[in-house]
Symmetry: C2
Subunit: 287 residues, 2 copies
Amino acid sequence: MTPRLQDAQVTIVGLGLMGGSLAAALTARRACRRVVGMARREEAVTQALAMGVIHEGTCHLAEGIGGADVVVLATPVRAIIKLIGEIGPLLPPGCLLTDVGSTKQAVVQAMQALPPHVQPVGGHPMCGKETAGLSAADSSLYEGATYILTPLARTSDDALALAREMAQAVGARPLLLDAPCHDALVAAISHLPYLLAVGLVATAECLANDTVWEVAASGFHDTSRLAASDEAMMLDILLTNRTAVRRMLTAFQDQLAGLAHLLETGDEAGLRAAMTAAAQRRRRLFQ
Amino acid sequence: MTPRLQDAQVTIVGLGLMGGSLAAALTARRACRRVVGMARREEAVTQALAMGVIHEGTCHLAEGIGGADVVVLATPVRAIIKLIGEIGPLLPPGCLLTDVGSTKQAVVQAMQALPPHVQPVGGHPMCGKETAGLSAADSSLYEGATYILTPLARTSDDALALAREMAQAVGARPLLLDAPCHDALVAAISHLPYLLAVGLVATAECLANDTVWEVAASGFHDTSRLAASDEAMMLDILLTNRTAVRRMLTAFQDQLAGLAHLLETGDEAGLRAAMTAAAQRRRRLFQ
């Protein structure tokens, strides 16, 4: 029997930016009965309690998820996958198990092996910021964000409805996708841009001319922003989404080689057409 | 005899975002005696007069630059180069001729052929915004920006001092660079990021899946921002800086291939090291 969110205990495992912000949003909006936070480090639990973003906290997994109606895994993706492999027997019957990891195929695959008394739904809220950690947690982080849900064939309608309700309760817009489609899309709009930002900073670094940093203006600032993302999080994302990321990297390399060729041959009409197509799409996209 | 800025007539040729903002800044700060605006289109002149950013305006080049102590060319780069070839005989003796174009080698080369009574100094204020045109002009656009100046061997100290004074008068920080060094640096921090943004938008477009635009979040927003830049301006920039841009494209392609290889081979330590180096540089750069 799946409860309504307002009657549920939500346990959040991992109190970094994403987990901490989810806890803060649920607590601030009184969206559920009780928010329990679980973190490996005692100090994180103490800090979350002091910030008032959780009602109760613990460093012991079994203690944190005892009595939970919803468990949200909010660690880097490879830790999420490891946790899914261990947590099954500890979860109360009917418990919704979801996550906020940025890749979904590997997560959903791990969820398939969960014992039948657990209700799994993959999740990926499309929000974040440069600064990692609980101190950067923000109860408005999820507001207006697309919150992707990837249910499994075994997921009950009630469990999916509860996952949707939680996404909406923190101000996000739930969007159902299957995991392979999700991973291809985020490879294009998130993981590829991250690698471009890393490559851009490395290229500027190779000039070995400190004036380059002095003249770097807003264009460089924005294009390179993702390079400052949390490395532990991004490393797990890239390594659990290698196939889709490689495909997007190849597609991008082809596009860039095409632009380089137009420039090399001085094909002004071709270059202008490519630039105009991109400009029109970008302007339409974010008006 | 070079006047002080406060006694000078400054004529700005081209009343788009850059020229209009320069006019607005000079007028608002009462930095010079008189600001004359010249544009091809009558409506631009009328609009600039109505906005109060120029004291006088004209569509006739000879009329606009008659009596000028400073002439600033503020059109796309290839139009700047064409103007430099025509304007020499029309300029009053001792007149400072400068520009706000984003590439400098081709501009400085054209300036070398100016008649000896003209004082040329290449210029590139490192500021701008997505929206082109006079309506987007902003008297604070230059505030805090690095304003690169590329004097020629023939440029007098007084003329260079006047160019510096004008940059400072609109709130920018003058920085002297030679033209080839300028072009290499901006290829890395501006023209390469632009091409990456264009390639990124084109790659996402190739997915032919409209959900990609729905899930595009702040990371994609920032990394793709430059793709919305004014195409006429960017086309001139790329075509007048082909050598440096191609060199940077090749350097970037090598960096990206390196990242792709680390991912392909699952070299976690190597990938982490590259990501950490970029993250640390980016965080140090924009704190």
